[in-house]
Symmetry: C2
Subunit: 209 residues, 2 copies
DNA sequence: GCAAATATTCAACAACCATTGAATATTGAT
DNA sequence: ATCAATATTCAATGGTTGTTGAATATTTGC
């Protein structure tokens, strides 16, 4: 596999600095939003020069897209794993398993829903990318499961697609606003309590009525 | 009432240009977000010079706060009106009325939830202002009603506060993402159909189980 | 119409931004 | 040790931003 043109060998640390940049960028983008974050901030956090970011990722937008598509891949894998784990069970159980895996992913990487929440804007190149990379696959996944679950019980729930979309986004935005929520509602600091409320209200209440 | 120090009289058109600026700013902030919007864009839309904005509103942040507190006042008035209209009925009916009025307000001024959605960020001066000006009063209003409604039926629903907070934010973000939702779910273009789905899923399903 | 007060514009500022091209450092194969 | 290739930094650039102070226009009481 001699893909390289030069005679030298690339460094091994390559991905180290790239990973540091990605990590810092995800934090900053999630906390402050794309427009309020400067490449200089990210470079400072990652301990590299600003120019390196443009060199590696082809610019600010390129860095953002890289982060989002990485998150999309991770999420897709988590969902497929959940599907494999519950292959033999009924449709209803599989839906429950997927919902649980989705919530677990969000709780594990709260920066992702925060970033999602910020960049689901109306007029922006990024939002289209976000819709296709994250929202659409997720939506299709849950629609399919929810329909199978409904058929299994011989039900035809009203606004099923609307309900699914609402579940996905409510879950993401609730996790994203968790700290803020803590100032309005008690018990948000405790991880287990928060997860239980999420599961009960959003899954059992909104998704699977 | 001789509050003025000068001898001349101020213009009458004052509020005209101010209103034009506010209107343009609300549109831009809602569509693009605070940071992605420049005062020059807003001034262009409103047909005035950039400097006028800083002169009138004391800067970009001042303009933003002015818009938000205006929206807060409008919303509070709409809710009080709904409360007056259903004063004699039961607690459950009053909760329903308030929820309906809230949804109607959001549908009537979709820029407000869009702005809300964008600026509920983690690290920002504006988000605190937003929380206190819009979120907190709204939350208190619905908590009170929901608790009264629960007592009326001798129920103690689990996670009541969490459920209320989720209702408020789900409603706001669903309206804010309506156009995007249309690409995932059918029937979002029709106003009546969209309102019906909102009412059924969010009010009857999530808020009043 | 004069004068005072406010509204609006004009012009300029300093700060910051992302990006780029050249210069340097580091790596690994030979 | 040498050399080529990549990784990283340095320095500069053109553009945009929000704000400010001076200049002009407009309004209204006298």
């Amino acid at each position: 596999m001699t893909e390289r043109r030069g005679r030298g060998r690339p460094r091994e640390n390559d991905s180290d600095t790239s990973a540091a940049i990605s990590r810092a960028a995800l934090q900053r983008f999630a906390a402050q939003g794309f427009d309020a974050t400067s490449l200089r901030e990210i470079a400072g956090d990652a301990g590299v020069d600003v120019a390196l970011i443009s060199y590696r990722f082809g610019g600010k937008q390129g860095l953002w897209k890289d982060i989002v598509s990485q998150a999309g891949t991770d999420l897709r894998e988590a969902l497929e794993r959940a599907l494999d784990d519950s292959e033999t069970t009924g449709a209803h159980k599989r839906l429950e398993h997927s919902a649980h895996a989705f919530l677990a992913y969000l709780l594990d990487r709260p920066e992702v829903p925060r970033l999602l929440l910020r960049d689901i804007t109306i007029d922006s190149d990024r939002s289209k990318w976000l819709l296709e990379t994250l929202s659409l696959p997720l939506h299709r996944h849950f629609i399919e499961l929810a329909q199978a679950a409904a058929e299994e019980r011989d039900k035809t729930p009203a606004h099923l697609e609307f309900r699914v979309a609402n579940f996905i986004y409510s879950a993401a935005s609730t996790v994203a606003r968790r700290e803020r929520l803590g100032k309005l509602v008690g018990g948000m600091e405790d991880d287990a309590q928060f997860a239980a409320a999420l599961e009960e209200v959003l899954v059992a209440g909104a998704l699977i009525p």
